[in-house]
Symmetry: C2
Subunit: 135 residues, 2 copies
DNA sequence: GTCACTGTATTAGTTGACTGATACAGTGGC
DNA sequence: GCCACTGTATCAGTCAACTAATACAGTGAC
């Protein structure tokens, strides 16, 4: 599996799991309808309690990134989250503001902020290139 | 004072304080060398324990946003943080990645991501307009 | 229906984050 | 030196987050 836990990171295990899956989905490394490893299987792989994996999956389900079918398994959601556009932009704005406030306080120039943004955006959108634009 | 605590936010008080001061500094609402309210004063204003304010100030000092002089007071730092440029870009990259992963998973288009970025960046840089570029 | 797999629920222990009370220590105007 | 202000240190209580052990419940191939 593509997930690895960093015990020294200070971040809760279930957050690390959720975060990495979320990133994989965003980058297209995990495709819609693709099954995720079972709660138990992933728990064994990562040497953690099944409940911890379940907790990560639960959070992702609430966010709409994945969905579960009792007894059957867990799968990547087909489409984006059910949320008003205004709400989605509000969430994004908040996160971007946090990032940029940090960047400005670190003394980075406007140009550096823009460059970094472009670089990160490109990296994320690359894996989705095949058919995201015209969809 | 410009700080207000939202008890329902779930965020620790000292984080809320630190965050708002950090944002104020980034946006130029707090100028370099400007004194901050004393630990005790702000504690009274916000109706929290002085230690809680001190904790926020400590974090901000560690990050280099402010500095303190025992017995004298607390002030906004003159310049950006002491950190290698590589390190600073790493921090920014991490935060931007988090924001953009979220945005992509929310189903926002590349254009929407770029627009939101521009809007947020403009808002932050506005207060600093007088003399940041040529400095 | 059975078996081997799915996710779910309950309960509980540990740990550390968070906040606060209180006492200590430095600074500077008078 | 004194006083009124600064920030600092110590200690302790509360509470919730996090993880785990264990038992429950749905699914589907056979």
């Amino acid at each position: 599996m593509f997930i690895n836990i960093d015990p020294s990171s200070g971040l809760p295990i279930y957050i690390q799991i959720a975060q990495q899956i979320k990133t994989a989905v965003a980058m297209g490394r995990l495709q819609p309808e693709e099954p995720l490893p079972s709660v138990r299987q992933l728990a064994v792989d990562l040497a953690v309690n099944p409940n911890t994996v379940a907790r990560a999956y639960l959070d992702l389900e609430i966010e709409g990134v994945i969905y579960k079918r009792q007894g059957a398994g867990t799968f990547v959601s087909g489409q984006g989250v059910e949320m008003s556009k205004a709400e989605r932009r509000r969430v994004l704005t908040e996160l971007l503001e946090k990032a940029l406030v940090e960047g400005v306080n670190l003394g980075l120039s406007e140009q550096e902020l823009r460059e970094t943004f472009d670089r990160v955006l490109d990296k994320i959108l690359l894996g989705r290139a095949p058919e995201p634009v015209g969809k």
